[in-house]
Amino acid sequence: MAVILYSALVLGGLGALLSVVLLVAARRFAVYEDPLINAVEDALPGANCGGCGFAGCRAFAESIVRTRDADAFCPVGGRETAERIAGMLGMEVSGKEPPVAVVMCVGSLDGASFVGRYDGVMDCRAAAIIDGGERVCPYGCLGLGTCRAACQYDAISIIEGVARVDPEKCTGCGSCVKACPRGIIRMVPRGSRVYVACSSHDVGKLIRGYCRFGCIGCRLCVKTCEHNAVQFSDNLARVDPDKCTRCGQCIAVCKPKTIQGADLSPEALEASKKPPRKRKPAKPATREANP
């Protein structure tokens, strides 16, 4: 009997003592955490993709609760999530939309030349370090699908030997941009996809030898664009999405059909199919400046 009594007393006493220690410790070392952080984290998709630029959803939540940055944006959650978070934090949603990835190469199996037989590891990065792949173009898509594997949203598929992005599924997280060893995937603002789908810096003569869809450097797009949105450097044209009005004129004049336009209005789509105009009328201002 005494044994049971002593044990109960010792254990009970020990329990009481430790509970007091725990209580003091909990009070003394308590860390205050904004309950909003947890709420915001719950509202996020929880993919931890890093597309927002933070280490994960938790880091994004901590940051946005602390800074109330209206421009911080979760590309996966999209506008809906942004509005929900803005509601929690009492902010307005800024008008920004997540960008969308585009592949700057359309050299498909029937358009580009291929040589040899690639026998290495099926990974674009592995192919790139041994100058592998079967495509002759030293700049184009290797087509082994490293970007497809990097995409968590199943937005990339390899069609006809070239990676293509499905804009509906793309969240703009940018994982594919990091994964591509050739650096040919770019982020462009959503809804303004007019881009030169070629990355080759070779001169036109060389390109014509190995790809039907390559930018041959004729600069017709530069001359045609009335908004000065097409720049040409290092044998390659590039469309500036900030200046582009998506009128479709450059698409119409591009002979090798390198320029792609996916977000065109019906009128612009019509214009992009018209045969190229002969010449762009010279600006009167320049005529006066050069008598």
Partner: protein, 442 residues
């Protein structure tokens, strides 16, 4: 029994019979050469000529950019046709200078092609001659020779090792050089010995080249401070670290260089080029390479001008057979499969191997069975199979050890599952370096 290194290693079929007995022939002057400017490890050189400019053989056409870089010289006389980006075996677009030959082969002033002895009275001028001649390691890595010959003070060097191993199958270029020019190689060795100021030079040759051993032995004779060592044939003995282990029994720690254990390793081809640079003031405009394999009609050892299109070389050797399956630049173990012969010969091109379809087709790959043969084969003491699996899974941040990989390919050679271990390790090396770079810049 001759010595060799102790850990790992394999013995692939030597296949040297194709060209072992064939004397070095000169390839006729090419009509056009295309000389890449990124031929050395380190910074690519900067062009100093203009298109349409006339150049003589041996004239500097590109200056080194920094210390770890080498000048590049015109390998034929003629007119610079263009300077632009071309596909080479190193990169899909390297800056190249194209020269159209005038067929005269007029050498630049100051070159004494007939000189056949080094004047040892002024050894302090040797290093500058070697640098100015644009010498790089001729074994394959193309590290600038003058950099290797000027070790920093904190790493005192006591031994010069001369690499006459040529452990790659098929290749016989070094073998022929040792047979035909042992005296000149010896002079080059003595010149490098004088530059380094070391008391001992050891020429290591594998025992599958008895004639070369005998020839070099005879040339060396009783020269003080120079030894010839015959080593047991084992791949990859020609790798610096393995050669140092075999000859000096010193282990180069991971991430360190041979000079940290007091050794400098130079190839016999480099020794010959040093002789030419010092005695003849002749820049590195040509090299000896082996054209061999079952699928070339007429295998040869050739002296070829740098920048010669491979097509010229192939034509001179009678062309490829119909059953050609793979064309490899360098040796079959560490060389690089080419996808077109439309690339030029480089300073580091030791051979051109034509494999037939049957021997070059890769076997179907299966799962790793954890047999550990790659571990036994690895001369660097790595665990290649495990590392390859990690590389496959994309866990590059854990693969710091991959940087110790020589890329010798012994693991893949011995793999019963035909796994592409080497390629996965190369990928890991590259991605790990990228991660380090990212970390640094962040």
């Amino acid at each position: 029994m001759n010595r060799t290194f102790k850990r790992g290693g394999i013995h692939p079929p030597e296949e040297k019979h194709y060209t072992r007995e064939k004397p070095i022939e000169n390839l006729p002057l090419p009509g056009k050469v295309c000389i890449p400017l990124n031929q050395n490890l380190g910074a690519p050189s900067q062009p100093v000529v203009e298109p349409k400019q006339a150049v003589k053989t041996g004239q500097v056409i590109a200056d080194p950019a920094g210390f770890v870089s080498s000048p590049v010289h015109a390998s034929v006389s003629g007119v610079v046709k263009s300077i632009g980006y071309r596909r080479t075996s190193v990169s899909p677009c390297s800056l190249c200078i194209e020269i159209e030959s005038d067929g005269q082969d007029t050498w630049v002033d100051g070159v004494r092609l007939e000189a056949d002895a080094i004047d040892f009275s002024r050894p302090e001028t040797f290093l500058e001659s070697i640098r100015a001649a644009g010498l790089v390691g001729m074994g394959g890595a193309a590290f600038p020779t003058h950099v290797k010959l000027s070790p920093p003070e904190e790493a005192p060097v006591d031994t010069l090792i001369v690499n006459g191993i040529e452990c790659e199958p098929y290749l016989t270029a070094d073998n022929r050089l040792m047979l035909e020019y042992p005296g000149k190689i010896l002079q080059g060795v003595l010149a490098m010995k004088a530059v380094l100021g070391v008391g001992r030079a050891i020429i290591g040759i594998e025992d599958n080249k008895p004639q070369a051993i005998a020839a070099v032995h005879e040339a060396v004779g009783k020269t003080p401070g120079v030894e010839v060592v015959a080593l047991k044939t084992c791949y990859p003995q020609g790798a610096e670290k393995q050669l140092i282990k075999a000859i000096l029994d010193r282990e180069v720690p991971p991430g360190k260089l041979p000079m940290h254990v007091g050794a400098v390793v130079q190839n016999v081809g480099t020794a010959f080029a040093v002789f030419e640079a010092v005695a003849r003031k002749k820049p590195l405009v040509e090299r000896v390479m082996t054209v061999s394999g079952p699928s070339i009609r007429d295998p040869k050892n050739l002296r070829v001008r740098i920048g010669t299109p491979l097509k010229d070389v192939i034509e001179f050797c009678g062309g490829a057979r119909e059953d050609l399956g793979k064309l490899i630049m360098g040796g079959p173990m560490m060389g690089k499969a080419l996808r077109s012969a439309d690339v030029p010969v480089l300073k580091s091109t030791s051979g051109l191997i034509f494999l037939d379809r049957a021997s070059s087709l890769s076997q179907p790959e299966s799962e790793c069975i954890r047999c550990g043969r790659c571990v036994r084969a690895c001369p660097q003491g790595l665990v290649p199979g495990e590392m390859a699996r990690m590389s496959e899974a994309g866990k590059f941040e854990l693969l710091a050890d991959a940087l110790d990989c020589l890329e010798c390919g012994s693991c893949q050679y011995d793999c019963p599952s035909n796994r592409k271990i080497l390629h996965l390790l190369r990928l890991a090396k590259n991605e790990y370096r990228e991660l380090q770079k990212e970390k640094k810049s962040a």
